[in-house]
């Protein structure tokens, strides 16, 4: 039975060899993740490789990853979302004001925060598809609009720029708990989001539409794909991801800060691009984005175990990003050259 299964599997993949692996979009990210892990294992010592070390970078990676995965879908469809940082802060603040300042039940704050994120995403998508402007500009504008509105409204309502709140035990456990006293529950949420996003991209027909829209929007529209609805839905997804991290942070830190979250804008893009998603859209994988996020987490936290100044982490991330963009182009060429080599052999 198993022999038969292996045989048929082998038969269906006649060209399986190392170059086929090299052509996969996540190959560069795999090399990057393994390389930085080995590097910091040596430079950081046992502090980095023990459970505490793993928790350190996994916690950072999972918060970035919850946003990076839906952002990756936006980018595979050929758009960008720069507003996730402001959305995170605004959602976090919405929850803290409702459930902390006004003393409403935690579930009201959680639902309002998540709805707020989805609403900002819908607005981004609506404006991008209605105006046909680049999503870069539209979401840059909404980043400032949401940031300004959050700051203004918070000062108006609360009179300061931070609000404290304590979540109900149930929400504290599912959003703000430490598993084994080390791992944030965000790690579990990241895994859940990864499964959902993978299903959407690979298993659902919606995933095929995302690739088609990123590949050629006009042709995608001509085949009858509801292009605008898909793009709006993807922005709503990234808004939801940002809001979910907002909720998680509110529970972990027992409150919200107006200035929270801006680092997530570029960190999510770094994770996605290092993960092998092309900036031009149409190509990418969730496994790649997960590995890109892991790479980001390892570099960001590994630096603390080396005894060096943490500023060097930014330098390494910058270099990794540059290397990723360059290799993405190479891998794209490799992937597209699938038939050329065979042709020569004919």
């Amino acid at each position: 039975m198993s022999a038969k299964a292996t045989a048929s599997k082998a038969a269906s993949k006649p060209g399986f060899d190392i170059t086929n692996i090299a052509r996969r979009p996540e190959f560069g990210a795999l090399i990057g993740a393994v390389a930085v892990f080995i590097f910091f294992s040596i430079a950081g010592g046992s502090g980095f490789t023990d459970a505490g070390g793993w928790a350190s970078w996994l916690n950072v990676a999972s918060e970035v990853g919850i946003i990076a995965l839906p952002v990756a879908l936006v980018m595979i469809a050929g758009d960008l979302d720069l507003s996730v940082g402001s959305t995170l802060a605004a959602s976090s603040m919405t929850m803290a004001i409702l459930s902390g300042f006004f003393g409403l039940p935690t579930w009201v704050g959680v639902i309002a925060a998540l709805l707020f994120g989805v609403l900002v995403g819908w607005l981004n998508g609506y404006l991008v598809t209605k105006t046909n402007l680049p999503s870069f500009v539209v979401t840059l504008a909404s980043m400032f609009i949401v940031m300004g509105a959050t700051l203004g409204a918070t000062r108006l309502i609360v009179g300061s720029t931070s609000v404290t709140m304590t979540a109900d035990p149930f929400f504290q456990i599912i959003f703000g708990n430490l598993i084994f006293g080390l791992f944030e529950t965000a790690v579990v949420w990241w895994a859940v989001i990864a499964i959902i996003v993978s299903w959407v991209l690979y298993k659902s027909i919606f995933g095929n539409w995302i690739y088609a829209i990123g590949g050629d929007m006009i042709s995608a529209r001509a085949t009858g794909i509801p292009v605008n609805k898909v793009r709006i839905a993807l922005f709503m997804g990234s808004g939801f991801g940002a809001a979910l991290v907002g909720v998680i942070q509110t529970c972990i830190y027992n409150g919200a800060q107006v200035a929270a979250g801006q680092s997530f804008v570029f960190n999510s893009i770094i994770a996605v691009v290092v993960g092998g998603v092309l900036l031009t859209g149409g190509y990418g994988s969730t496994l790649g984005v997960i590995l890109g996020t892991v790479t980001f987490g390892i570099v960001n936290q590994g630096i603390y175990y080396t005894g060096w100044d943490a500023d060097w982490a930014a330098l390494i991330l910058g270099l990794l990003l540059l290397a990723a963009v360059l290799t993405n182009n190479t891998f794209r060429r490799l992937a597209l050259s699938g038939g050329k080599k065979e042709k020569k052999n004919d």
Partner: protein, 271 residues
Amino acid sequence: MTKAAKKPILRLKNVSKVFAGYQALNDVSLEVYPGQVLCLLGDNGAGKSTLIKVLSGFHEPTSGTVEWDGQEARFKSPKDANERGIATVHQFGGTFPLMSIGRSFFVGVEPTKGWGPFKRFDRKYANETAVREMQQLGITRITDGERLIGSLSGGERQASAIARAVHFGAKVLILDEPTAALGVKEATHVLRIIMQAKLKGIAVILVTHNVSHALTVGDHFAVLIRGQKADDFAKGERTRDQITDLMAGGEAMAELEAELNTLTGTINQIH
């Protein structure tokens, strides 16, 4: 197989298209028959692209009517035209270079398996169908539906796009300059695939400015000049030179040659 015995599947009657004061098409009438290849010839800017866009639902005509299977029809969108059975294949064939053969074959009409929330894209069926349809058009080198479209040769990409149209039951297949970017051998493959589509009873509209390719496969020919139909004839009614002259604008070509003669000596000596 006489034309009188058949009804045109698609007919344009006195179609004009004006863009902001610019007359892209002027009073064009055409008939397209099942199982025939209509070659649409014309120089750059003659209105071929606009005509295709009217036929494939991207533009609605400013005046004139489109008839589908004997009845007046208005194509409100490419999807609308598509659903009736009009498929358009562009110069570079598969338009999604970074998608696999199987995935791009079924863009917008994805096959699914399972039910309810577990309904999912049937990758195996998609890959097998796409490969089988391409092999039926004579592209036997393609065996793996996971290959990316961008890794195929120009002719194979055309074949994948034509195979897609055939599979989804296209009644009219519009091919926009399918051979323009191809080498001699690849172009011949594509012409052979056009003949196979024709034998399946599909009406093929071949847009080209390559007269030899047109003469090889065409049953009927229409020449566009500056948005107007300059000539309309069946196979064998014109010589190759007549067509070339007409496409280049007749008199204008004679003047151009005369001018060239004064610069280079007579061109005729070279021929």
